[in-house]
């Protein structure tokens, strides 16, 4: 199967090189794959995910995602809008507009009418089981419901890849299971590539492949692995 993401010797440092957040990452992700990324706090998981979504620019190395060369490309906003669906730990919904309108936000870049936007948004809310709450403001929704709205928003432009940074980090286990089920179903039914950063080993194990990051590097199979020792951090 072809690679949807290809990363070679990717490096990124902060604070004038004092913090090496990514220190030579090599990674291939196949189209339609479900990958989870684990590792201790500060190891560089979010930084890696941000690179994949072109939210951050690497210092050196190569990164190609969905046929875009992210080190060269200038149309990064177009790439983010068309190819990527982001889900963050906090839902980050816009407070003064309804759930339905929040899901419409990524669609502005497309040339479609308000009516089409609304219909698409409603059908996405139906997928996450929130059609009846479409007109509610975010602060009237529960934490889990808000995160489901964020999932619907991530799907707005039919992305090829969904990037989720601790999507269930702020939710209780029951709600988080529900959210994960929805994400895995999307992966299975729509063949979306799913990349989830998580602390939770039970979440990580749902994936086709678990990648471990430590000190800005990916641990190879024979390194001491968190997975082998079954430690959940």
């Amino acid at each position: 199967m072809e690679n949807i993401a290809q990363i070679r010797n990717l490096k990124k440092s902060y604070e004038n090189g004092n913090i090496k957040a990514l220190n030579g990452i090599d990674l291939d992700i196949k189209r339609g794959e479900f990958v989870s990324i684990i590792g201790p706090s500060g190891s560089g998981k979010s930084t890696l995910l941000n690179m994949l979504g072109a939210l951050d620019i690497p210092d050196s190395g190569e990164i190609k995602v969905a046929d875009y060369d992210l080190t060269k490309n200038k149309n990064l906003n177009e790439f983010r809008g068309k190819k990527i669906g982001f889900i963050f730990q906090l839902h980050n919904l816009i407070p003064n507009i309804s759930a339905c309108e929040n899901v419409e936000i990524p669609m502005f870049a497309q040339k479609i009418s308000s009516k089409e936007m609304r219909n698409k948004s409603l059908s996405l809310l139906e997928i996450v089981g929130l059609k009846d709450k479409a007109e509610m403001l975010p602060n009237k929704l529960s934490g889990g419901e808000r995160q489901r709205v964020a999932i619907a928003r991530a799907l707005a432009n039919n992305p090829s890849i969904i990037l989720a940074d601790e999507p269930t980090g702020s939710l209780d286990s029951k709600t988080s299971n529900k959210i994960l089920k929805q994400l895995t179903r999307l992966h299975e039914e729509e063949n979306v590539t799913l990349i989830i950063v998580t602390h939770d080993m039970n979440v990580a194990k749902l994936a086709d492949r678990v990648i471990e990051v430590l000190d800005g590097k990916i641990l190879s199979k024979n390194d001491d692995s968190l997975l082998d020792s079954e430690i959940s951090i």
Binding site: N50, F86, F88, L90, E104, I105, N157
Partner: protein, 374 residues
Amino acid sequence: MSFLSLIFKNPFRNKSRALLSIIGIGIGIATIVALGAITDGLISSAEDTLHAGGSDFTVSSKEQDSSNMGSFGSASFNETWRDKIANESNIEWAAGVYVGNVVTKDDPFFIMIGLNKEHYNMVDLKIVEGHENTAENEIIIGKLASDTINKTTGDTIELDDKEYKISGVYETGNSNMDMGAITTLSTVQNLMDDEGNITSIYVKVNKDADVDEITENIDKKYGDNLTTIASLSDIEMVGEMVDMLNGASWAISLLAIIIGGIGIINTMLMSVFERIREIGVLKAVGWSSKRILIMIIGESVVITLTAGVIGSIVGFIGVEALTYFNLMPGVTPVYTVWTFLKAFIVALIVGIVGGIYPAIKATKLPPTEALRYE
């Protein structure tokens, strides 16, 4: 939802802050509208005076006398000039008038107009109360002056230590004339210690006659002594006054732009910093910098245009209140499309200029920083 409706909703998330900005800019806009209406009113009433009773032009002395406000700063001249002008060809009528300021108890700049009765109908003078002045010590008072000094038919007024009786109240429709009082030419000449002189001649030309040709002819013939004034721009002093008023009006507009601009920059910067995360999300979902720029500038313009609407209404009500309570006697405010257009152009400029810096700030935020921010 349309992009536009998002732009309209966002500024009112923080209602009190939006309101404060709107009040701040609205005050500036109200001032611009009010000043514009008053300035235009002053200019048009001065224009009216030149064409009192439908006269086509005014003749006054070449000599300047800035102490004489009543006749736009020109000196008085011998009344025999009136007959010379009246005998020129194509002149329908020529009325000699003396306009002077007399100190009274109620008004240090009381305007006395010396005009003989045979010219009353020429200036469209109508008696609305009482009767015309007949005796030497009788005067008729303009409606506006009557309202201002609170004197009417039957009352007496002291002019230069002598009592005069108000025999009637008149109206001409020309606010400058209606702000004064009229009596015979000789009485006013006497009051002003200026016997045999007048301050201007109102001239009406025959139908179909060419005003420019006639004034040119008079200027050529009597140019050493007299000057003709067919429009305000012919009068140096008034021209300067109009320039000054317009200048002051623009200066205040500029001040409003600067103060309002600083206010809106502050408001929008606060709004951007409060929404760092949200703006990061917009970038993450594919919004271009251009769209974010337009959104923030748009929000700024929504605030300033709202201030434009409210400020215009307040400015209008303010001017009408001043007029209603007679605080600007003789000034009839004039509203033109330009009065309000200027206010809206200012509001738009303040909105765009004030929104640019915060908008650029917003687009410069790196999306990851935006998402880390807590």
